[in-house]
């Protein structure tokens, strides 16, 4: 990524200034040290870090769990703009969107440290309760069109729906668990998320699992930052890669 202001491009951040989702990112070098500054859309300094020589900065589209509200939720609740009706005992595939946040990551060997994180879309990210107010889950909310070109600030997700019941099913929402969800930078500058397999197993129950997508050559998987890794290791029981949800409604 070169240092000219213009279109947002994901990948290494060299010296220069960049416009990303309304923010201005400035990377300076001085005697081998790097300084990272982010100016908010209002022009105030939102983040400032100094990095030791030898560290490489990356701009990545990251699953939306790193913002300060991250402790509140561990899932993404995608409400489809229109329900998808699936025949009985059939398989179908639709393209949906999954949100991401921009993460600035410092790379040092195999280790990835989070330097900064900010929302990709205009305005703050929204949350929603999935299920019961006590027993349910608080999730990052996203309203996704179906089979449309992904909008800026979102990743393409392929949703495979496998209907195993003897009735047609109308799918209006998908809940994605935090653990196991990977994002990839594709050569054209777009972002792809893990494929989602939704298996309808009962009159109201569906199982959600991830599947790694087939990617074009040159695609890069977004590295997991240490904070996220530690969190997943610390509380694995809360963050299953598989989830059973109620479909429809």
């Amino acid at each position: 990524m070169n240092g000219s202001e213009g279109e947002t491009r994901l990948g290494p951040l060299d010296e220069g200034s960049y416009k990303v989702a309304g923010n201005t990112i400035i990377v300076r070098r001085f005697r081998g040290w790097q300084e990272y500054i982010r100016l908010s859309p209002e022009g105030s300094v939102a983040a400032r870090r100094k990095l030791a020589p030898g560290m490489r900065l990356l701009l990545a589209s990251y699953p939306p769990f790193l913002l300060p509200e991250q402790g509140l939720f561990n899932c993404i609740y995608i409400r489809l703009s229109e329900p998808v009706v699936v025949h009985q005992r059939s398989v179908t595939k639709v393209i949906i969107e999954s949100p991401f946040d921009y993460a600035v990551i410092a790379e040092s060997g195999d280790s990835h440290i989070l330097v900064d994180v900010f929302p990709s879309e205009a305005g703050p990210p929204k949350l929603a309760v999935y299920g019961d107010l006590v027993e349910g889950m608080l999730c990052r909310f996203h309203k996704s069109p179906v089979d449309n070109e992904p909008r800026p600030g979102t990743a393409t997700t392929v949703l495979h729906i496998i209907n195993q019941i003897d009735d047609a099913a109308s799918i209006s929402r998908v809940v994605l668990p935090r653990s196991g969800l990977n994002y990839y930078h594709l050569p054209g500058g777009t972002v792809r998320a893990s494929d989602v397999v939704m298996t309808i197993k009962g009159a109201a129950l569906a199982e959600i699992e991830y599947e790694e997508p087939r990617l074009p050559r040159g695609s890069v998987r977004v590295p997991m930052v240490q904070r996220e890794r530690r969190l997943l290791e610390a509380v694995p029981y809360r963050l299953h890669e598989k989830l059973v949800m109620r479909w429809g409604f």
């Binding site: 509140l72 703050p124 949350l127 107010l133 006590v134």
Partner: protein, 280 residues
Amino acid sequence: MALPVIGSLEPPPLVYDAATALAILLSSIITGFLIGRRVRLLLQARVSRDLALIISRAVSYAIYSLGVIAALSQLGVNVNVFLLAGGVAGIVIGFASQTIAANLLSGIFLYLDRPFKQGEPVEINGVGGVLHDVSVFSTKIRRWDGVLVRIPNEEVFKSIIEMPARSLARRIDYQIPLARGADVARAREAILRELEKHGLVLAEPPPEVYIESMGEYGTLITVRYWSPSKRWFDAKISVIENVRKALKEEGIEIAAPRRIVELEEQGGEQDNNSAGEQGN
């Protein structure tokens, strides 16, 4: 010829009884100590340290008391008097310590029921704050203003306890009085737009804005939305501020009591004979 008997080889009865009584006393002390310690170790994993200590001591003292009674009995002392006196004293103490016993039992039941956790926001009997500690006799809450409040366990056990953090989300309601003549539809749109923009207002359950009533001063609008329980207060104070700004930018007036003074001319003199509180 029989030798004269100069004394028995057996110890005299009093010495024998005293030695037996001492042995009973010592063994009861050792047994009471060991059983008490065992009870404390067993209970520590299940209940609080304080409660485990109290129960283990009660067990130890009961064994010591039995040892004392048995030892006295061995010495020929009529223990019935003590038992009777103990019974009477027990009744008297029982009546006198009714509140203490109630608090203790409530404390034990609170331990078993565990309706709340340390550090959890709670409201008990109208006292809201963070739960600081539950001990044998009382529950302590650090109120929102920082003051530590002690509530007897009996009262806690009988009270309605609110635990707002147990829900993922909490509903917040505001009422906004719009001035008479204000464009209610435009106000509603502006408020919904603000709620949509705010990160702590949940998308689902969705927010609602509706006319509550047509009041004396104008139209009363209710704004209702849900927010994550852990950020409830942040949401409460920031949303109302944003809504106020949005309404101001839209030029929508908030109703307020006004005093209108009507001046009438009477016989060439001005007189403010009509004054009162009216809606605008």
